[in-house]
Symmetry: C2
Subunit: 264 residues, 2 copies
């Protein structure tokens, strides 16, 4: 493994750009290849079998790009496929879930709420992992299938979004959770609305946490890039996406250069 090989990041779509952003900020020397499976997005309402199959294909593509490690930015894939992927592939592969959990456990006073896609919530990956680390934590979970389409429709504020946030999070409010994990890469864009409804609750954004974890892994395996040469960030998608430029701006807060379309 050569230190200047890129870090691979994949997501079912473009939401994982939040992870790309955090990884780039934390490790400015690293080359990155991002793959968004826009042809088959979303993963969140699909089965374990198909999510594993798609995840393997995504990593096979990233391996062609000679990545030295993979960050699974997709929560559904992290929840359902991560162990399976680590059984198959030789390079280190990390997911967004453990990083989010570690942060939540560090800040909670005992009641954690988890929101995510159907696949993520029904997998119980967050719930099992938290209980393994601390049996005393009270865990509440809710799948929020309308959050991703709301974000993609640009409705990150306003009356409809308020009502939907209330519909999904009403129970968390009643249960008086103190910490909420945003278990989907799109949800940070609704952070303001969620914070407004759940006042006083600590919000854990897995994108930031997984970047820290990725850095630890690279340091552990002595794989961090030390050369301060020109860094490349390559964006690859399985389907052209008219919204991509719009969302890339929203997520990365800057314009994107070249986008490559990959046949899956």
């Amino acid at each position: 493994m050569i230190k200047n090989q890129p870090i691979g990041i994949f997501d079912s779509g473009i939401g994982g750009l939040t992870v790309l952003n955090e990884v780039g900020k934390l490790m400015p020397n690293e080359n990155i290849v991002y793959f968004g499976d826009t042809a088959r997005v979303p993963y969140g309402n699909k089965s374990e079998l198909i999510i594993k199959k798609f995840s393997v294909e995504n990593i096979l593509f990233l391996l062609q790009e000679k990545v030295k490690m993979v960050v699974v930015a997709c929560n559904s894939s992290s929840a359902l496929a991560l162990d399976y992927l680590n059984d198959i592939f030789r390079i280190p592969i990390i997911g967004v879930i453990e990083a989010g959990i570690n942060k939540a456990l560090a800040v909670t006073s005992g009641k954690i709420g988890i929101i995510g896609t159907k696949a993520t919530i029904e997998s119980k990956a967050y719930q099992k992992n938290i209980t393994k680390k601390n049996k005393k934590i009270k865990i509440f979970s809710k799948s929020c299938p309308l959050f991703v389409p709301l974000v993609e429709e640009g409705l990150v504020g306003g009356e409809i979004t308020e009502k939907v946030v209330e519909m999904y999070l009403e129970d968390f409010k009643k249960k008086k959770i103190d910490t909420i994990i945003l278990g989907c890469t799109h949800y940070p864009l609704l952070k303001k609305e969620i914070a407004k409804y759940l006042q006083g609750v600590t919000i854990v954004n897995s994108a930031q946490e997984v970047a820290n974890h990725a850095k630890e892994v690279l340091d552990h395996f002595e794989l961090a890039n030390e050369k301060k040469s020109k860094v490349s960030k390559k964006l690859c998608l399985s389907d052209e996406s008219k919204n991509f430029t719009k969302f890339a701006k929203l997520f990365l807060k800057k314009a994107v250069a070249e986008i490559k379309i990959i046949n899956v």
Copy 2:
């Protein structure tokens, strides 16, 4: 071509079951194979290139099932891939768009509104086709990306859905359309809400119209099944779908027997 061969129907997901239902009611002697591409659903926010690719793969699967004709129940695929599919394949392939348009033209007094996915609306397939047949018609169109997730979340009534209907159809009301085409297989489930908001407007449901068109095509090619033997309805999906049974009941108004999972 043998008359007792099945009719093939495909959709990006399970919404096309509304078409299966209408075809089955109108032609009770016909065997049917339905394919729902649940592994790659939805098509509505994807590119022309990828929708063509997926549509070809779906028909190749239906041909293995020895279908005598194909009904493309998916509006996005009908809008973007139908001509391409008819150029490639020998068997008759019909889509939902022309059938819906013919009905709308028969009932309108001059102002037609069209709603559908982004891919369908941006393709301008409805708009171009209507203008070709009658230049005097005033056409208004609107993509409604939140309608499918609302239906899939079971929100076919209530405050949130009312607000979303208003957000998307406000302009149609101002423009005083007299006819609206539901250009997506999921939308008939929101018919009540749409009718409530657009009082007095005629609603065209393409699922019914395409069944009539399919019957005409079979009669024309003398392919209709005359034998009144036991009829088979086979349901195939590219991914198992936990919601399938629920939606099959909602769409077909009866329980479904066997579901087969196909690798795409």
